[in-house]
């Protein structure tokens, strides 16, 4: 089986755990997933707390993605206004068979029109803001993550790890998911509707 190319979108002000939780899960199956870090240009990208990380690709030359993963973070607040970025994201993600987001990453998907007609969720503290980014989205407030056809969106930060474990279970089976979560000593939540952070 060919490896799936996972395009993780990085931008200034991304939340570290939104990215590196899911990435550590996917990277534990190096024969199945080729994780790429796609920046806007080729420069290192600065996370919310300030530490910079390198990218593997720039958006205009990134390889064809099988899966797109869009993290959240404070940087989404300005990116939802960045039309060239949203246009690129819509085009890039449309080439993938799975489009996913963690936390406020769903605001970017929504602003790019990628969630129109889909059920989706997001960070619970930023929920009211996120939902303004997509009026034609069926926003689900109480959910750890939401799967609707090929759109998978998770709640805030740590929920991205539960969603990613579910994605691995979906794509590679329960044994692969078990292997990965045991490797990371991660107790995942497997019920997507259980959401202790929804009010």
């Amino acid at each position: 089986m060919a490896k799936r190319c996972v395009g993780v979108i990085l931008f200034d002000g991304f939340q570290l755990l939104d990215v590196f939780g899911p990435v550590d899960l996917l990277s534990a199956l190096p024969d199945r997933y080729d994780v790429r870090f796609v920046g806007l240009d080729g420069d290192p990208v600065k996370s919310s707390p300030g530490i910079s990380v390198s990218v593997t690709d720039r958006r205009d030359t990134a390889p064809e993605p099988d899966i797109v993963l869009v993290p959240g973070g404070l940087g989404t607040r300005s990116l939802v206004q960045d039309q060239p970025f949203l246009t690129w994201l819509a085009e890039y993600a449309s080439r993938a068979s799975l489009i996913t987001s963690v936390c406020t990453g769903s605001a970017l998907l929504a602003a790019a029109g990628l969630l129109d007609g889909y059920r989706a969720t997001s960070n619970k503290r930023a929920f009211d803001w996120v939902t303004t980014q997509g009026e034609n989205v069926d926003w689900v407030r109480q959910a750890r993550w939401v799967e609707d056809r090929n759109r998978w969106t998770s709640s805030g930060v740590a929920a991205g790890m539960d969603m990613t474990a579910a994605l691995i279970r979906h794509l590679d089976g329960p044994e692969a998911a078990e292997k990965v979560t045991t490797f990371l000593e991660l107790e995942v939540q497997t019920d997507s509707t259980r959401d202790p952070f929804a009010r």
Copy 2:
């Protein structure tokens, strides 16, 4: 109250989640914690899956730490043989009031002599290897994390987040810990003795 300086030790082959789980928790309290990333020299450091991250400090000029956090990862396998690194680590950590590790980071603490006479734990799959790094350590196989005076060591990867939440609870009180874990939508385990990954 002055901020606590947290010196996170970065080295080639560190495990991403070992670092960025705890860091995202600490960074959610920017008035309490000043997280520094201390590399061996000033160059970017390459994680296990290959992505590089920048450091804020190099070991010979790093500021005085209040807390030292040593992550694990494949890179520990060679670092336990690196006597100049271990000598530096022992000296640097001895200036901190709290010495902590995640996953196989405890192998580095043990090899540096920093766990002699202490109870400690580590990653469960690497446990037998880790324990060879410190014969005078009271290794605890079944534990999510172990606190012994000012040495806090966690089990594998994701356990570092539970330990860090407990550390915040210990240092800043339950409200601060609750604020952080709610912000990250992270359901933490608060019982350090519960360890589903110990066999």
